[in-house]
Amino acid sequence: MRVLVSLIAVLALAFIAYLGVGIGHADTLFGVVIPYLALAIFLFGIIYRVVTWARVPVPFRIPTTCGQQKCLEWIKPSRFENPYNNFGVIIRVAMEVLFFRSLFRNVKSEIKQGKVVYGHTKWLWLAGLAFHYSFLVIIIRHLRFFVEPVPIFVKWAESLDGFFQVGIPILMLTDVVILAALTYLFLRRVLIPQLRYISLPADYFPLFLIGAIATTGILLRYFFKTDLIGIKELALGLVSLKPVVPKGIHWLFFMHFFLVCCLFTYFPFSKLLHMAGIFMSPTRNLANNNRAVRHINPWNPKVEVHTYQEYEDEFREKMVAAGIPVEKQPEPQGQGTKE
């Protein structure tokens, strides 16, 4: 049911684009207005969310660690798994962002011959990494539509991606990889009972949405070739703030473009915001130095204290008179009487 709802939602979005452009010919709405709106929501939505996170004080260091903390001289600390300074934190976050370090640690427990056994499972890590890097390469490749002249690194990305020169237009490896990875990530949620139980429409929807974007993109590249020159003219018009909508672009392109706009709009409200969240998680971006540095809670109220020393200073004479022992004896009365 949760799967079906998400699938229907994505199909409905695609159908909206078809209705809008294929039948309604609202090219300007789908080619100019919605893209600008989506970009604005994406940018300001993410900035807003990050600023709300940054307004929450983190008075105490709460990193989740998985290595030896720095303590005694002769015990070797784990610098990156349990960082004690900023350098360690930077390496730790970079390992997480670039290589998905924590997923790599994934362990599965099973009962085999009556015993509990633990083993590494890297499939999620592998599929996740393949998906994210394919998406990155695809985004870099798409820059060829958004800038003129096309920078050299975009051409390099495309040459490498089409390294095997299969077919015409040359098959891009990332197109295959991203679909395979998405399929794995989807099947994993459906076929593993525990995962199926905890998966929500918010988990399936982005998978279907990105899957639909990839599929329409692949259709456009290999099967329903449309006027690329017109598409680049549209894209350049958008980025130079002088939008033009050339005639004769296939509605399938607008479907692709509209689904991308939906992804952008959906971003700040969804789990996809882990893109920003990974940098903002206090369990990862803090050095574990609670024992070495004193951290004072910024929202501590100002507490009036009256220490014992102050108490004794105030009542010393009376305490001595009443025979209560005091830490500091009262000064003898009058200096001159001592002879």
């Binding site: 940018l43 900035i47 237009p169 003219e233 130079s240 703030l241």
Partner: protein, 131 residues
């Protein structure tokens, strides 16, 4: 806001990265630019091997098909829809009319960053004096 220095730096970097094409275009890229492929002189009124619409969308498929058919099956003649016969050859058929590759092929290819590997083997122009 806590750690505002780091957070604002990060957000600025993010915003610039996302809007990079806007800055690139403003800083010296070409904005509202559309290439016009130029036909070589004397081609007005001549008809290509297939219709203009087909060639515009699918010329690469045709060239690929020609290559495979010539190399693998020795089928060297292409018949256009109106019955004219052409030799399946990039150099001898296509480039005979479209001799100005720089103004015809490359303008669009460069515009959308396409790097066809035609010229890895084919020469753009026949060397002078060579047959």
């Amino acid at each position: 806001m806590y750690d505002s220095g780091k957070v604002i730096t990060g957000l600025l970097a993010f915003a610039v990265l996302v809007t990079l094409p806007f800055w690139y275009t403003a800083a010296g890229g070409k904005g509202g630019f559309r290439p016009e492929p130029k036909l070589a002189p004397g081609l007005e009124g001549k008809k290509c091997v297939e219709s203009k619409a087909f060639m515009r969308a699918s010329h690469m498929d045709l060239l690929n098909l020609w290559r495979d058919e010539v190399v693998r099956q020795d089928l060297r003649v292409h018949f256009s829809p109106d019955g004219r016969a052409f030799e399946k050859s990039l150099t001898n058929t296509c480039l005979k009319c479209h001799s100005n590759t720089g103004e015809f092929c490359d303008r669009c290819h460069n515009y959308v960053g396409v790097q066809p590997y035609c010229w890895d083997c084919h020469m753009e122009k026949k060397l002078k004096g060579a047959e």
